[in-house]
């Protein structure tokens, strides 16, 4: 029988949805059929920030009224802007609290107070120390790391001044932010201020609310997320190209399967280390397994895939399905994007669901809290639990055969190196190939999965359309995993899917047409790559001058909105698919979609059709090419002596 690809374009996913149906196991896919999105909430036309409401102000029922307001008189514009601001603040808080955990672990590691961690990347340590104005002369690694750890932690609670990483942005971008008064002071302060301003009866001017939303989002992109990325690189190594594999087929029938799911790479790094423990390997043999197979899920997967080549079982919508294979002995979850539904699915099998963060428990799951001072012991304890659970498999195991090779680990440093080698590392060749038109432009395709749209369809349709039109794609998060499963993260994909210009460049450099840059916190790598392109010269003076655009075709989380907002206000035209959370207010939507271009030279757009979204991005790229004067192929003219003399 032909498969029904309505739920997903990935046949492994389809197979396991069918298995779940047959075995009457509830998943996100079955729940989505029963629960439809609230029509008022979907356009954010509802205010529930005080106990006089909730005030529901749907467009359809209130058209006859002059103005839709809550009982307090708050306009629909204020209400929608407040809801948007709170979502962005939650996204910023998520990335930044992740950063805080990493920074605290980093400082403890520098002081020798952790187990299993070390400072692995001295090059990155020096670079980040210099970013923070730390003099590295004559200091050993430990001294620099302690000083850096202390300085970085100050970024969260700063009350005045500017976040340190702001000065990494192009000078002209900093001037725009300064003029608009949106440079973040301290990460926590900007989140708190959003929560205050959106409390009942405080900030009631939608444009003013959205200014603070910008300041808060920038505290993520050029603050929390960037700190996470940089410190993780120092502790676990800056990503370099590595071969890996992806999709549910990475699970192994005759091995102990452990899936690491979530976002912080701290425990996953130690689990990687612990799998090499001879005692645990021998225990696995004793229980009849051929080995220990660690696999990733969601952004934890991206982290260990790009640093260790640990196979990736899948992205957000595949988390329950991994357990439904019947082959997963244990799944660890730390923070963000972990569905509570995992618990019910795990109960149908022998799988142990382990929560590991002090900030995130799931009712009914086993809680083994991770603390860096005894991190390796905890990792070994978890592995032992998984191994001992191997003989308890009680269902028929079904592991789909789908598995795809990938090349991942394109940090901005690695892209820089690949373009010029050790002695001439530079973004010059990339800029030159954009100027000469072989590469039309650059696109960031990032973000989540969303069960309200076909799994992976938006990512893959959009990305293929972009590379077909010679747009080089940089990808992170669940979008990156979708691209991996579709075979777009291998150099051979250039010949198969990319336009002639992009294909030629990819073949010359030896890179895929879609570059995997990491997890969702690693969108900061895209900001830095864009900044390097600007600073290299020839493509304008600001990120907004670049022939570049961004997209999150299957977004669902508040973090995605935070990312989108810092992309837009860093000067990047950004298109979101699936749904858009300000449709309840024409003024707020107009402000974000059009007036923002005047203010930030970057703006939001909403387009659920991925082909149309791709062409809006390409049109924007072409507009920027025209503004730079690189929209027409120039004839190469061989100058004779008279022509040379005429140049003066």
């Amino acid at each position: 029988m032909d498969k029904d690809y309505t739920a997903s374009i990935d046949s492994a996913t389809i197979d396991l949805i069918e298995k779940a149906k047959k075995e009457e196991i509830e998943t996100i896919f079955s729940r989505a059929e029963e629960i439809k999105p609230c029509p008022i909430g979907v356009e954010e036309s509802c205010c529930k920030i005080c106990a006089m409401g909730p005030c529901r102000l749907p467009r359809s029922k209130r058209e006859s009224r002059k103005e839709r307001t809550g009982v307090c008189g708050a306009t629909i514009d204020t209400i929608v802007a407040r809801n948007f601001a709170r979502k962005v603040a939650a996204g910023v808080a998520a990335h930044s609290d992740h950063a805080r955990e990493v920074a605290e672990t980093f400082l403890k590691t520098a002081r020798g107070e952790t187990q299993g961690f070390s400072i692995k990347d001295e090059l990155k340590l020096i670079a980040v120390a210099l970013d923070f104005g730390i003099n590295v002369d004559g200091k050993d690694t430990k001294e620099i790391a302690i000083e850096l750890g202390e300085r970085v932690l100050e970024e969260f609670g700063k009350q005045k001044g500017e976040l340190t990483y702001i000065k990494k942005a192009p000078v002209s971008r900093q001037e725009i932010w300064k003029r608009l008064g949106v440079i973040p002071r301290g990460i926590d302060r900007e989140v708190v201020e959003i929560m205050h301003r959106t409390h009942m009866g405080v900030d009631q001017d939608y444009k003013h609310i959205l200014l603070q939303t910008t300041r808060c989002a920038l505290a993520d992109g050029w603050g929390g997320s960037m700190i996470s990325t940089e410190l993780q690189d120092i502790m676990f190594n800056t990503p370099v190209p590595v071969m890996g594999s992806i999709n549910l087929g990475v699970l192994k029938e005759d091995e102990v399967n452990i899936v690491v799911h979530g976002h912080e790479p701290l425990l996953p790094e130690l689990l990687v280390l612990a799998t090499k423990d001879p005692e645990l390997k021998s225990l696995a043999e004793k229980v009849g397994a051929k080995g220990i197979n660690l696999a990733g899920m969601c952004c934890s997967a991206n982290e260990v895939l790009m640093r260790h080549g640990i196979p990736c079982a899948g992205n957000f919508l595949q988390q329950e399905l991994a357990i439904i294979t019947g082959a997963v002995e244990l799944m660890t979850v730390d923070i963000q994007c972990e569905m509570q539904g995992l618990k019910n699915v795990a109960e149908c099998f022998h799988t142990k669901l382990i929560t590991t963060s002090d900030r995130a428990k799931i009712e009914g799951a086993i809680h083994i809290e991770f603390h860096p001072d005894k991190g390796l012991d905890t990792a070994k304890k978890i592995l032992r639990l998984a191994i001992e659970n191997y003989p308890n498999r009680r269902h028929n195991v079904y592991i789909p055969s789908q598995i795809q090779e990938t090349v991942v680990g394109f940090s901005h440093e690695t892209i820089n190196y690949l373009l010029g080698g050790l002695f001439r590392a530079s973004y010059r060749p990339l800029n030159d190939n954009i100027i000469n038109g072989r590469i039309r432009g650059i696109a960031g395709v990032v973000g989540c999965n969303n069960v309200r749209t076909t799994h992976d369809l938006g990512h893959i349709t959009l990305t293929k359309e972009l590379i077909k039109h010679d747009v080089l794609v940089l990808t992170t998060g669940c979008a990156a995993m979708a691209c991996g499963k579709a075979g777009l993260l291998v150099p051979e994909a250039a010949k198969k899917y990319a336009g002639p210009g992009l294909s030629e460049v990819c073949e010359a450099v030896g890179i895929p047409p879609v570059l995997h840059m990491g997890a969702c916190v690693d969108n900061s790598r895209i900001l830095i790559a864009a900044t390097a392109m600007v600073k290299e010269g020839g493509l304008g003076n600001d990120i907004s001058d670049l022939p570049a655009a961004g997209a999150a075709p299957e977004w669902m989380s508040e973090k995605a909105l935070a990312i989108g907002h810092y992309f837009v206000t860093s000067g990047i035209f950004t298109v979101f698919g699936t749904t858009w959370p300000t449709l309840g207010s024409d003024k707020v939507t107009e402000h974000l979609f059009h007036e923002f271009e005047e203010m930030y030279k970057g703006m939001w757009a909403y387009e659920p059709d991925p082909i149309k979204a791709a062409h809006r991005m390409i049109a924007h790229i072409d507009k920027k090419r025209k503004a730079l004067g690189i929209d027409k192929t120039k004839e190469r003219v061989l100058f004779d002596m008279d022509m040379r003399r005429s140049l003066g």
Partner: protein, 58 residues
């Protein structure tokens, strides 16, 4: 991807204890001086004292 389409692009190597292919170009930089020199040239956009490229006139 078809098998016959495969080609080795990177100078990949397999470490004995790690069952994957990884190309760590950063291992070529050994000393602190080499690393600082690399930052000042390769990542001159931020670590060189001279203004560069689009910000030359600033």
């Amino acid at each position: 991807m078809e098998k016959d389409e495969k080609k080795e692009v990177f100078d990949v190597k397999t470490k004995d204890d790690e069952p994957y292919k990884r190309y760590d170009w950063r291992e070529k930089l050994k000393t602190r001086d080499e690393k600082i020199k690399y930052l000042k040239s390769a990542l001159r956009y931020w670590y060189s004292n001279e203004c560069y490229g689009s910000e030359k006139s600033n």
